[in-house]
Symmetry: C2
Subunit: 370 residues, 2 copies
């Protein structure tokens, strides 16, 4: 049985990316690397819809929280963390660890953040330096209305820092048009690469903020990273295989066309949700804010996520994931981002339907028996 | 012409490692990853000669400077940076960036650090919390006498923090026997992997120091990393392909036998030095402290490193590297670490000999002509 690898990340690798990963080492200060890195960043800028900068680091996507903080802020700065899921929660926690003065605006998990509520919170809190946003909450399958949220932040004059780990490359994201200041993601989601590369797009107001930032920094220093990137290099040895892979993936996305990629994800999201509903299961995300990259739904009543995940894996070859935090056993999460097509999502939702039926029957039988 | 890839790093990948890099993604919270990561760390502990911990991060090797500082020290702490090359210099600079009170002990580039001098400096400076050491100076081809240096540090009661980027896995290094507290390296040198994985071995005194450390930290937090590693996981998504590769490389090294690997590097070092001397060229490292992983030598008189590197690359397929800092044009550096054998070093030194002869003749002719 072949595996239908449907985690919200890491996601499957296209054969072209696998091939790129296996390429030989080259001199990371030589002309071949310089041309590779220039071209990689050019494509990345294009796909982030920005004339600003894109930089990369050997790191996990989650390091983006720290990179944003130590480059754009200073200890004691007032920031507003917008939280409606586990990744927003973690971003807020990292901000606190770095001694920022963290205020929160929350929406219940499964609900989107409301731009009006954000605008009011900004008015209430006064001198907010930055708003910490998660574009697509991987923990709940909710896409926040980033464009409108960023508009509210901009009106207030604060920086918009965006965790786009499970959105960039899958969902519409317009760095410049939407006035985003710092947008980061990891290679292992819609970018169709293994984990290990952090990607950050940096706008002009973020560069201005860096001039004022007082955190000590070395590895994460984005000014040094830009100085070297402008010469087609990185301050420390770059993760060559990851750069080979990322450039190849970017070429594939550019060749499909980023708007076509967004449209494909819209269709994959719709197929997945239709399949989940047809299985009689309940989506977790509030209607209208369902993510087109990750779907979260409840297992049948009386059935734990673990039971359903095991059946999906063992009987249907579908590798999905449970919930996070208090929802560990109450949610199933399924990724439909990156290297994925309708057939695979059709097979996955068919497996979800069948296993829901079988598990419900089991669950009812044992309820009767007990 | 096939490439004889002789940078001091990145180094060539064995076919087994290339194969491992191309493996499919797996769930990073699932049983297959847990067993992979447990086994990887077990092998890494064995090859670091430690009963303590080994941890990994998606990062460049140079991030190890920062990881050591933010986990083991606090702003204002007195540290002694031992500097006899560019990497020691950079380690000291990072320590200063992180507001440590940095004192220096130096040896001229090309000379090793002297344990007696270190002992005197420690006595002179009093309450030194840690000594920052570079085991093998990649910039000069000098191996410092780590065991004796660490002995002096231990007598004083300070922590021994070791940059082993171009030594671990190539040169004898006994974490526990030598009383080292924190030893880090990057995947792209003797570990025969692409760059992108930071590896750190952590001893008991380092753990005690972490309890007192007051830096904010998230991504680099080694306690969180250990808590997760003990369960076969990582706090954030691990760089799966790099872990596949690293585990494979560790198995190869363990199967050759780490002492045999050290012996092979000793022989490769001797072959390289003999070849350089036979070419009539002058080694940069002081006699008795020459590195068995990286050799640095001067190009013929009147010849720049750039000229010789271009000839080596274009006419012989040998990819070598120039010097660093003030020695950019005055040194050629050649790596003989990791996936490399006698034949390759024989071919490289033959090319060095021939190009030295040709370039010297050119240089003399133009001297006569002018």
């Amino acid at each position: 049985m072949s595996v239908n690898f449907r985690l919200p990340g890491p996601t499957p690798l296209p054969p072209q990316v696998t091939e790129a990963l296996g390429r030989e080492m080259i001199a990371h200060r030589g002309p071949a690397f310089r041309s590779l890195y220039h071209e990689t960043l050019r494509l990345a800028r294009e796909l982030h819809r920005t004339d600003g900068d894109v930089l990369t680091w050997a790191a996990s996507g989650s390091a983006g929280w720290e990179v944003a903080i130590v480059n754009l802020l200073s200890p004691g700065d007032l920031v507003l963390a917008a939280v409606n899921g586990n990744f927003g929660e973690r971003f807020a926690r990292v901000a606190k660890e770095f001694d920022l003065d963290v205020r929160r605006i929350e929406a219940p998990w499964g609900q989107p953040l409301r731009p009006e509520a954000l605008a009011s919170a900004l008015d209430e809190h006064g001198d907010v330096k930055a708003v910490l946003l998660v574009h697509n909450e991987t923990s709940t399958g909710v896409t926040n209305p980033l464009r409108a949220l960023a508009g509210a932040v901009r009106d207030h004059g604060a920086l918009t820092i965006v965790d786009a780990v499970s959105s960039a490359g899958a969902l519409p994201l317009e760095m410049d048009d939407w006035g985003l200041d710092f947008v980061f993601s990891g290679s292992q989601k819609a970018w169709m690469c293994p984990p290990g590369l952090l990607i950050a797009a940096v706008g002009p107001r973020a560069w201005a903020a860096q001039e004022r930032s007082r955190y000590p920094r070395f590895f994460w220093d984005m000014k040094e990273s830009k100085t070297m990137a402008d010469q087609g290099m990185t301050p420390t040895t770059p993760p060559l295989s990851m750069i080979y892979a990322y450039r190849t993936a970017l070429e594939m996305i550019a060749s499909e066309g980023i708007e076509n990629v967004w449209q494909r994800h819209r269709e994959l999201g719709a197929i997945t949700r239709a399949g989940v509903r047809a299985a009689g299961l309940q989506l977790f995300a509030h209607e209208g804010s369902e993510s087109n990259s990750v779907t979260a739904f409840h297992p049948p009543e009386g059935v734990t996520a673990s039971e359903m995940l095991a059946m999906l894996r063992e009987d249907y070859g579908v590798e999905a994931q449970g919930g996070q935090a208090h929802l560990v056993e109450r949610l199933i999460r399924i990724g439909h981002l990156g290297w994925v097509n309708e057939q695979e999502m059709g097979a996955a939702t068919a497996a979800i339907g069948e296993s829901a039926r079988r598990l419900s029957t089991n669950s009812q039988n044992s309820a009767i028996a007990s």
